[in-house]
């Protein structure tokens, strides 16, 4: 996309050598937040044609402020960027939209998947340290504590089972867990189970704003098949669905479906495997 590439890293990590033409590092003061790194980075971004940012909350703040200062908007979560045209999800994957920046500098956020197997190259050595420039109304960091993860990394699972609102009681999830154990699957969920009733850890919900997975096997249990969830498993190898509602949209998006009560199907299925 460009002849010259500069990389800037905010935070504790070291900047690897040999990945860009120039490298910068921003150390965030102990009582500051990474979101406020925009003024520090402004000189690096000045004159750039393209800015690509990591789609994390901290960096979305930083790149948003840089874009605002440039009178531009950020094209976010680009699935691909070709010839200056970015493809993004629209309505959580119900549609896809192609957009192009009309400003002199184009700002994007994009995950690693947007660039296929492109490899970094360049002659950068040690990164240049940028001196922190605090904004006028700085946000003060009081504390920062790591989130204890459930230990399940669904992005690495070949087999994923997702539980949805068809589970009427939290205890019924044990049926799904036993099923997962039998087929070596990781257990994920749709967003309401993580953020509505808090039965599942937030980092296990699949779909818009959550996990985007491409497992070999996906089994949706009590999942109705809303786009917001299904978009996260669209590229699964084989899609299985269990739902008591024969009209559930998931049955129009699966390879194999079973209509019935998950409380009777799951134990029978676990026994049959």
């Amino acid at each position: 996309m460009a002849d010259e590439v500069a990389v800037a890293v905010i935070g504790a990590e070291e900047v690897p050598a040999g990945i860009a033409d120039a490298a910068y590092h921003v150390a965030v003061p102990a009582d500051a937040v990474a979101d406020d790194a925009n003024l520090t980075l402004a000189p690096v971004v000045e004159g750039a044609d393209v800015v690509i940012a990591e789609p994390t909350r901290h960096v979305k703040s930083v790149v948003g402020k840089l874009a605002a200062a440039a009178g531009a908007s950020v094209i976010t979560d680009a699935l691909s960027i070709e010839g200056g045209v970015a493809t993004e999800m629209y309505f959580g994957g119900v549609g896809q939209v192609k957009r192009q920046a009309e400003t002199s500098c184009a700002f994007y956020t994009a995950g690693a998947g947007a660039f296929g197997d492109a490899q970094p190259s360049g002659g950068n050595g040690a990164a240049e340290e940028l001196a922190w420039v605090a904004p006028a109304n700085a946000v003060k960091l009081v504390s920062s504590s790591p989130i204890e993860k459930s230990g399940v990394d669904l992005t690495k699972s070949d087999v994923v089972v997702a539980a949805g609102r068809g589970f009427a009681e939290e205890g019924d999830l044990d049926l799904a867990r036993a099923f997962c154990d039998k087929i070596g699957a990781g257990l994920g969920c749709s967003r309401p189970l993580a953020e509505g009733v808090n039965w599942m850890p937030t980092e296990t919900y699949i779909g818009v704003s959550g996990l985007m997975l491409s497992p070999k096997v996906y089994v949706g249990v009590g999942i109705s098949g809303q786009m917001q969830h299904m978009v996260g498993v669209k590229s699964a190898g084989t899609v299985f669905a269990i739902n008591k509602d024969k009209n559930a949209p998931i049955f129009k998006q699966c390879d194999y479906g079973l209509v019935g009560d998950l409380k009777t199907i799951l134990p029978a299925l676990t026994a049959a495997l």
């Binding site: 937040v33 979101d35 909350r57 979305k60 703040s61 402020k65 874009a67 605002a68 200062a69 009178g71 531009a72 908007s73 094209i75 976010t76 979560d77 999800m89 629209y90 309505f91 959580g92 994957g93 119900v94 549609g95 896809q96 939209v97 192609k98 957009r99 192009q100 920046a101 009309e102 109304n137 946000v139 003060k140 960091l141 920062s144 790591p146 989130i147 070949d158 087929i183 953020e195 509505g196 937030t202 704003s209 070999k216 096997v217 669209k234 084989t238 299985f240 024969k246 049955f251 699966c254 390879d255 194999y256 479906g257 019935g260 009560d261 009777t264 199907i265 299925l269 049959a272 495997l273």
Partner: protein
């Protein structure tokens, strides 16, 4: 405390149809409050209740279709006190930069404001950018991913849930907070709330000067769906569960 909630009105995604040509047809879609903005309204209502002597103003900018009486009542039935709406086709489908500019103009016109609360991201674009653009326009700080809000003198103490860490931060007011859905469970308005909402102040206006577009939309299409076998059986049928199990085994 003067609290502003910035919300987006979008076509209800449940009503969006995909045409044979792969276009999205929104002509039958109802106007709806973008889902995560419901949590933002509830967070504002709860913050107002906790702080006492507060006003919650909802501000929204969109095309003329958003001037819908059912929708306006729905917004005001959720604990908000007044509504400021720009409903003008010149303000339809604005990008983050222009949306923030239009919202900022409205918010500044309301007068003193301590906190602006935004949702996690809009149902259509989910860009998570209007909060930060709006803060830049207003010249105030912003944080996103907020799951707890506490008024603390001239600052807000906010807890933010990020990808790997939970941060507790002090944000000087006035400020913009983008809240995660976890922050508050939206209430379900009762008939009384909806009747009362109809009597609350609503300011519906045309657009002022709209900022030039910074992003051009080239095409909107439905994604191509993967071909699936669609082999669906009733679990009560003989051998259905066994066949399903065999298919899983074969796919593993």
């Amino acid at each position: 405390m003067n609290i502003v909630v910035a919300v987006k009105v979008v076509p209800d995604d449940q009503d969006i149809q995909v045409t044979a040509a792969g276009e999205l047809d929104m002509s039958k879609a109802h106007q709806a409050i973008s889902a995560y903005d419901l949590n933002a309204i509830e967070a504002a209502a709860q913050l107002a209740a906790a702080a006492g002597d507060s006003t919650v103003s909802v501000v929204t900018v969109g095309g003329s279709a958003i001037d819908d009486s059912k929708l306006k009542k729905n917004i005001l039935a959720r604990g908000a006190d007044q509504l400021f709406m720009v409903a003008d086709d010149a303000a339809a489908d604005l990008d983050a930069h222009a949306t923030a500019a239009a919202l900022a103009e409205k918010i500044q016109a309301i007068g003193a404001c301590d906190v602006v609360i935004c949702g996690d991201g809009s149902a259509d674009n989910y860009a998570q950018q209007v909060d930060v653009q709006l803060a830049a326009k207003l010249g105030v700080p912003s944080v996103n991913g907020v799951v707890k809000i506490e008024a603390n003198g001239a600052a807000i103490t906010a807890e933010r849930k990020l990808e790997d860490v939970v941060e507790v931060v002090e944000v000087p007011t006035p400020c913009v907070l983008a809240v995660s859905p976890d922050v508050a469970l939206p209430r379900i308005p009762g008939m009384k709330d909806i009747l009362k909402a109809g009597k609350k102040p609503m300011d519906i206006a045309g657009a002022g000067e709209i900022a030039a577009a910074t992003v051009k939309t080239i095409e909107v299409k439905a994604p191509e769906a993967a071909e699936r076998k669609l082999d669906v059986k009733d679990a009560a049928d003989d051998g259905a569960i066994e066949a399903f199990a065999a298919a899983i085994k074969a796919a593993l």
